[in-house]
Structure formats: structure tokens, C-alpha cells
Symmetry: C2
Subunit: 235 residues, 2 copies
């Protein structure tokens, strides 16, 4: 039976012993063909795991700008030359907060066994470290960029959170983080808990949860720094 | 500054090199006081990581039946004898799909630095391996046990999934898994995608996504086996 490994990659620079179980490398070395979001990042990641990694022996399909290239994905999954596949996204856990899940979906359709390896995911590390409800939570991806749609969405997330004691999780492109933060503190109620999990896994990591009224009193610099936002209302 | 480590634990038996980055042990050895869901499981986990782990030098607060014992948690977090804390839940990632998040919440209130270690989480391994939408998803914990409340909830999750292209994730106590599966196949539409991720991380692991109409034709044995259920409608 063919196998597809879900291969978590780096979310920040650092010693690999901080992020990856040693056996991941064994599985990755056995992998014949890789679906990668970005070829350069994927090669760099494989060399980081093992600087003698036999990159030239492997087949790569880059999907960076071609997420709609379903034919190429299907052809590779059906290719009889390969028994073992891997999927590596740009950062963290493939298929979570990134558009790569259709490869896994196709694998299921083609009766390929899917096996997840362990590794870092900024979303779940943020949730676990937030102290907010991990028994009922939603991830919304990116919020609308512009007000009033953004304003309306934040309000709606807060009401929904209060009603169901639910943690709301979302992200933003790093250069808009500071603007989103300002909008959140302006829009949310004073006692709504807001968590910012920034630069997870790196030496600059900070993860901090407090009521909006406290965030307002504080200088926060998350400009161009990868961050996950979490909120829970009605505590 | 005091520090609280989020310490992922085992989700299934197996070689530790499959699940844990080597450096986790360094952080855990430095930890002076542990919040644990179950003392016996936690001790066994620490011995599994390192059979010479100095368990007797550490302080443990067991929360198994005392999740409401907020005073004990606060007292320990304030205790001047300790600088480094850890939180270990019964299985997998603390604070996700378990009730331990209030310890982390208190840590934030007391200005204790929270640092997540990397490790296995059955929820996100299931999501990533499902091929379902990982850019918009909700975790609902346990669904209602009895029909018609269960029937109504499943219907509602399906409609909501279709409307927002959202992945719905939920769990059940293992001895009720089979009954939930029957109810799902009876209630959901034929073309709704259902993923069952069972015994994640173990030799018996299977993760499989297919339309409900295909599940109906198949004999499935998930009785008393830990499983995560995921669905996405309207594909």
C-alpha cells in the first residue's frame, strides 16, 4: 500500500532537537516523492534535519503558485515509480492554516495510507499556551482586511465566543498585525480575554493573555512578526 | 521570572523517538513542580522519557478529580520555593480537549512566562491527515449523548459546515464511538465527507476520509478505541 507522510516543518529557526522527534528523519529519508509549498524552503528544511540528506535522489512537486494544479498532484500520486510520499508546507503543520489539504484528500480517494508525524504547529501551541478554552474553539483563518467588515467580524466573534464559551483563533499577514491589534483593542469589550502568541518557538517568543483593558495600557510591537490571535469573551 | 512549560505527553504506546523532540527532557528535568491530571500516568510518562528521571525530587499537584481546586493551583503558582512549573495532561497536548486550561490562565494572571514544548496532539494530527479544510475549522468537544439532541446537533454541524466550508471536529468516550458512528452515517448526507482518525500514533492507527455513502458499505470497528471524528459537507 502506498503511504503519504504528513511532515511538519520549521516554524522558527533553532536547534532541531527542540522541535522534531528523532524518528521523523527516518520516515523522511524513506520518502521518495515530496509535495512542497516552496522548493527552496523544503530543501533547506531537509538539509537542516540532516546536512547529508540525499535531496538529489528525491522527486519534488512544488505547489507554491499552483495549488489549483490538481492534475499534477493526481498524476504524481498515481505514478507507479513511487510508493512513499511526503507533504511539507512552508512552515509548521501541513494542512492546518494552509491550502495544502487537497493533496491529502486526493490521497484518501486513491486509497493511500496517510500517516502524520509529530512536530510543531503554531496554532495548537498558541491555543494550549493561551489558557483559553481548549474544549470548544474555532479557527477562522484571516479576518476581513477592511473596516467596516473587519469591525463587524470582530464583534460577531466576540458575541459568539460569549454565547458558547468558545475560543476564537485567527491570524493575519505579519505586516498587518499591528493594525489588527489596534482594531481589536478598539472594538472588543474591556474584559474580553485576548491572547497574542508571537514568534512561537523562537528566542523572541512571547505568549500572553490578558483582558483588553490591560492590553490598551501596554506598548505592543508585533509588526512583521508572525503571530496568532485568540480571544474569549464573557469570563 | 517564573516559567510554566506546556508538556505534551503520550497519546499511544511506542518509542519516544517517534513523538518527542530530545530537548523536551532537558526542560522537564529543570521543572520543579508539576500540575498533573493523574499522578500515576504522569510518573509513568516521566519514567518513559528517562528511566532515571528524579521523580522524588519533584513536587506534584494532582488535579484528577479536583479541577475546581483553584486555590491549590494559585497557591502552588505563588509558592516562592518554585521557579519552574510544568503541566502534563492525561494524554497529548495539555489544554486542548481537556479541562486544564485554567492553570495556564492563572499563570498569565500571575505574570508567569508560558512556554509550549512540541509534541503529539491527536486533534491536529487528525485534522492535518483528514484532507479536510484546515483553514476554517471548529472543535466541539463531546456531542450530546442522546437522540434527539444528538441528531439535531449533527444536522446543525453539517449545515454550518456546508455554509462556511468548515471542518467540524468532535470526540466521544471510546465505548460510545461505535454508536456515534452509526448515528453519523444514518444522519449525514450521502456525499458529506467523514474522517475517522483512530488510535493515532499507535501501530493500530488508521485515518481515513470518504463520503458517508462509502462508510455505510463498510464494516468499521472503533469500539473502545480512541478516535477523532471530522466532517465537511458540501464538497
Amino acid at each position: 500500500m502506498k503511504t503519504l507522510y504528513i511532515i511538519p516543518s520549521l516554524i522558527s529557526e533553532g536547534n532541531k532537537d527542540l522541535f522534531f522527534p528523532p524518528n521523523n528523519l527516518t520516515f523522511i529519508k524513506n520518502t521518495e516523492a515530496f509535495f512542497v509549498e516552496n522548493l527552496r524552503t523544503a530543501r533547506r528544511f531537509l538539509r537542516y534535519l540532516d546536512n547529508t540528506f540525499p535531496i538529489d535522489d528525491k522527486h519534488f512537486l512544488e505547489l507554491n503558485k499552483h495549488y489549483d494544479n490538481h492534475d499534477a498532484v493526481i498524476n504524481l500520486l498515481k505514478d507507479n515509480r513511487y510508493r512513499t510520499y511526503g507533504i511539507i508546507s512552508e512552515a509548521g503543520y501541513p494542512g492546518i492554516a494552509d491550502p495544502g489539504s487537497f493533496i491529502v484528500k486526493k490521497a484518501h480517494e486513491l486509497n493511500i495510507k496517510v500517516i502524520p508525524l509529530t512536530g510543531p504547529s503554531s496554532l495548537f501551541m498558541a491555543l494550549s499556551s493561551s489558557g483559553l478554552n481548549g474544549q470548544n474553539f474555532c479557527f477562522h483563518g484571516y479576518l476581513p482586511v477592511k473596516s467596516p467588515a473587519l469591525f463587524k467580524k470582530i464583534k460577531q466573534l466576540e458575541i459568539d465566543s460569549k454565547k458558547h464559551q468558545k475560543t476564537q483563533i485567527f491570524i493575519e499577514t505579519p505586516y498587518r498585525n499591528q493594525a489588527l491589534f489596534e482594531m481589536l483593542t478598539k472594538t472588543l469589550q474591556e474584559d474580553t480575554l485576548l491572547c497574542i502568541a508571537c514568534d512561537i518557538g523562537s528566542a523572541r517568543e512571547f505568549i500572553y493573555t490578558q483582558p483588553v483593558k490591560n492590553w490598551k495600557k501596554q506598548k505592543v510591537d508585533i509588526h512583521k512578526r508572525p503571530a496568532v490571535f485568540l480571544l474569549q469573551a464573557g469570563n
